[in-house]
Amino acid sequence: MTAVALLLRKDLRVLLRSPLLLGALVAYPIVIAVLVGLVAGYASAKPRVAFVDEDNLPPVVSVAGHRFHWQTVVNEVAKQVTLVQLPQAEAQRELSTGKVVAVITVPPGFLGDLQTTVVSPKLLLQTGSGGLAPRVTEQVQSLVYQLNQKLQAGYIQANLDFVHLLLRGGKGHFLGRNFDVLGLERTQQELARLPSTERVAAIEHFVRQAREGLAQTGSALRATANPIELEQGSAHGRTWLLSAQVQSYGIAVTVTFLALLLAAGATASERDEGTIGRLRRGLVSLGRLVWAKVALAAVVGLVLGLAIVVVFGIVVEAGGITGGEPWARVPLLLVGVLLAAGAVGAAGALLGALAREARAASLLAVLIVLPVVFLGLVPRGALALAYWISLFLPFAHAVRFFGAALYDTSPWGTVGIQAAWLLGIGAVFWLLARLGVRTLTA
């Protein structure tokens, strides 16, 4: 067995004999995974929304001669939120107590206005002040969008019917009044029977132009209704962004925190116990000593990462959370965990060498880990300096690696780049730690 393996086995044995630390190590990933799972579950849960129908909408609505199932559209929205039909007073009460996060009201006269096709009826939306309000607003906007999409066809057809009437002539009906229309075709026929004069010729010319122009009305109306049409292709990229983010951050925070703490403490404790002197006497090179601490961080990180993934996966599967757990990607994720924990371990070894005492090293690790994590969370646009600093620390790269490994359809590009970053950062910290442990004299 090599010196690195011997020291690694020793460190793991020491770790297993520290009941409090061991308990924390076992509990930590479970707590993190359960919390992360709950966050993912809560985020993907349907918010409860009250639906107040003050117009007594029938299940099937007829607008401009077109019938559509109002209830079908409502049911579509109900896939994203839980719609609960309530009287207005009760809906308001539940909104004030937070039992529902929003109230959608169909006011009296809604259907009548809708059927005129000349007035835009209004749906009323009230939201609470909770964190889910923006999501509910988006859902209701989606409902209105879907309704408008369905009504659009009816409205366009109604307009086209009027255009057709203008072209062909016949009996019409608008705002409760019946009327007869001569129509451009019959006008042209009537004009043909009149003596050919310059004035008649001018009117015939106008009628011909009007007929040609109105013949294009259908396309023009459809284009006006949808200046830009969204065509949705097959799904690419992340399958479930929120799950990817929370799980990636959960694992990255855990690995960063524990790998840094363990490597720093284990390195400094070689001085505390006086064993650094024995090891330096040709038994273990300083480089191998640092490797042993990196290996400790990597092994513990790997076990904790796996534990988080498994517990998180169980929570996700048991809760039926959208997106599920991509089990097939777990091996790739664990490669990232190994690299990230190793890179953080090298940083921890440097910290331990500089702190020189296990207690100081542990305290320093705890103090450093939070800024490191937050630096990794700052978007580039928010504070460029924070972004650039985080580029040279393992956390942000670990998060990107984990997210890509778990949910990107084609993760290899991102995974390759982030792996290279982690290896590079790890190598620099290893080198610095190798220099730092020279100061750990007996």
Binding site: T275, G277, R278, R280
Partner: protein, 208 residues
């Protein structure tokens, strides 16, 4: 001319502006025992750590022509491992063929507890004996001892000196630091250190 088992050439150690050890020469010949004597902070531990290879000198060099064992002043072992586990680990790191046997024989030789009790929970005397036992793994021909008997009872002290004397008798060399003037009788040569330098004073002059 006899080749020294260990030779230090103008080894010195500085910590910033502080000179812990001025350039010092030392040779350990086969069968020789050298005592390093001096008050606290005289540079004895620093010199022994440099000779052992546990501390890099800021200048000078050390040549070794034999395996060296080192007993640091403060017991140096893993507190959460038992005495047996510590001995087995260091025996493996020394590259010994049968680490389990080496550990068992040291446990017996120094009457150390064989129970799987963390060594950090042992008595001060037992920890110091473990410290000596660890230094003897691998069969060193040069033994460097930094106040090895400070925490030991008279019986245990005698056992340590028996080990050192036996090593010297077999052609090895011993160099030890002490503030116990009675122990100087185990040395054939005494070097007095004061303020990090070899002083041309007698032991009596140093300690008044």
């Amino acid at each position: 001319m006899t080749t020294p088992l260990l030779r230090a050439l103008r080894v010195a150690r500085r910590y910033g502006e502080v000179e812990a050890l001025a350039p010092t020469d030392l040779e350990l010949l086969p069968g020789e025992a050298v005592a390093l004597v001096g008050p606290n902070g005289a540079g004895k531990s620093t010199l022994l750590a440099i000779l052992a290879g546990a501390l890099d000198p800021t200048e000078g060099s050390v040549e070794t022509h034999a395996r060296v064992g080192w007993v640091p002043q403060r017991p140096a072992h893993y507190a959460r491992l038992s005495a047996r586990e510590n001995l087995e680990l260091f025996a493996r790191l020394e590259g010994m063929g049968d680490p389990a046997h080496a550990a068992a024989s040291m446990l017996e030789r120094f009457a150390l507890p064989i129970a799987a009790r963390p060594s950090g929970e042992l008595s001060v005397g037992n920890r110091q004996r473990l410290n000596v036992a660890l230094a003897l793994l691998g069969g060193p021909r040069v033994l460097l001892l930094d106040e090895p008997t400070a925490a030991l009872d008279p019986g245990q002290r005698r056992r340590v000196w028996e080990v050192a004397d036996a090593l010297r008798a077999e052609g090895g060399a011993v160099c030890f630091a002490t503030q116990n003037l009675e122990e100087i009788e185990h040395a054939g040569r005494t070097i007095v250190l004061q303020d990090g330098r070899v002083a041309s004073l007698t032991v009596e002059e140093v300690f008044g």
